[in-house]
């Protein structure tokens, strides 16, 4: 079976400095892959390379389109790549302000994605916006409010709604629960897990929080200094870490 997303030898260097080096991976529908490591380990750089936000220095990222073609991102035209990002892919930023348009209402934030894929029917767009806000537990009477008036947790849920309204097949998430209160975090984790199962999504989640990775992901990649030093099932990596650095990382988690 062809994977949805596959990377071969992906490398990104900034001048002489290495962002990520020689990373290979594959991801199938329904899988959630966590990329973990300390800050500066290259996990966000890798995520941005995999999602086509950063050009790679070397290597290839391939994606299976809805029509079954398994293409290299380099071979897509700029217009095709943009369409992919608006339709098949979602990107959830750590700071919701980077993923939302703060100047327009919450409803418009969700509706905008639908218009970007060609929907023009106001009633249908409005109904979808309401449906998605409800699914992410935002009250309907807040639909016309600006995201500025939302709490951090609500903004993050709005960002998820905005990303999922076009039924993407692959969602990239950069520290999706970072900077949120733990009570809000739990709610968001539960929401994401439910959506992944219902929609058979594939997701790549960057996090430095091993507890988040444990609850959200089925597989894990551990990064150190731009390289992937360990991969495996999430419980395998956390319960039986092999690399010295992974053992240090896992044994450093505070117990509550």
């Amino acid at each position: 079976m062809t994977p949805l997303l596959a990377a071969e030898g992906v490398t990104k260097s900034y001048g002489g400095r290495i962002g990520c080096s020689d990373v290979s991976m594959s991801l199938h529908a329904g899988e959630v892959l966590a990329i973990v490591g300390e800050s500066g380990s290259g996990k966000t750089t890798l995520l941005r390379c995999l999602s086509g936000h950063l050009p790679v220095t070397a290597g290839k990222v391939r994606y299976t389109l809805r029509d079954g073609r398994h293409v290299s991102l380099d071979d897509l035209s700029e217009a095709e790549r943009r369409l992919l990002m608006r339709t098949d892919w979602g990107f959830v930023h750590q700071d919701a302000r980077d993923g939302l348009r703060m100047g327009v209402s919450a409803g418009a934030n969700v509706g905008e994605r639908m218009m970007a894929v060609g929907d023009r029917h106001y009633g249908r767009i409005r109904a979808s916006a309401v449906d998605w806000l409800t699914r992410v537990e935002i009250p309907e009477d807040r639909i016309d409010d600006s995201p500025w008036s939302y709490s951090g947790g609500m903004r993050q849920r709005l960002q998820i709604a905005r990303n999922l309204v076009t039924s993407p097949r692959l969602v990239f998430m950069d520290e999706p629960t970072g900077g949120l209160d733990v009570s809000v975090q739990a709610r968001l984790l539960d929401l994401i897990r439910g959506l992944v199962r219902k929609l058979d999504l594939a997701a790549i989640v960057v996090t430095h929080d091993l507890a988040v990775a444990r609850l959200l992901s089925t597989r894990m990649m551990v990064m150190q200094q731009g390289r992937v030093i360990e991969t495996g099932l999430t419980d395998q990596v956390l319960e039986d870490p092999q690399a010295p650095y992974t053992q240090l990382l896992v044994s450093s988690v505070l117990q509550v």
């Binding site: 099932l233 039986d240 092999q242 053992q247 240090l248």
Partner: protein, 226 residues
Amino acid sequence: MTPVVTITDLAKTFHLHQQGSIRIPVLAGFSAEIGAGEAVAVTGPSGRGKSSLLKLIYGSYRATGGAIRVWHDEDWVDVATAAPREVLAVRRRTIGYVTQFLRVIPRVPAEAVVAEPLLDRGIPQDTALERARHLLARLGIPQRLWHLSPMTFSGGEQQRVNIARGFAAAFPVLLLDEPTASLDSANRSRVLDLIEEARAAGSAIIAVFHDDTERRRACSREIALG
């Protein structure tokens, strides 16, 4: 007896890099065969790898050597060498595992925790919840607790939620790590009934029991470690 789990020459050594690079051998040259409809107890003194053996079969621990072949979807899969997504498929449909402690997302209701393995198999929500509630009721969890997160439950209640989750999906192979450890005698008896029913329905049970009487009641054969 049709074997469903065949373990050959299994070895496991932990290499702890952060602690003076010490090597701790847990299992070496271990072989066993477990058949459908058979309940087998893993026995041995504390620290001889009983729980480790269960984790190896489930794929949570990586084998240092040997093979763990599991009959899955009309074929043998070697959990020790299979790709992660094959192991996930084995866990979805073939091997269930009741750990010693429940691990859940905060805020998720007990009935949803129990229904999850069924939803993972694509069983409709209503059917899955009905089965979950049936098991919770059988294990004596009062109905008023079903929609609450088990994180607030007592140790014994959490363990029963964990057991309900393990038995929800009628796995062909079921790993049980001290399933009755924190339960009173009425609940221990209910769990032993569930084990007996699963075995009679053709599941292969591999269990670690603390208590000799329960072990003898639940299991027909012993595999001794150490």
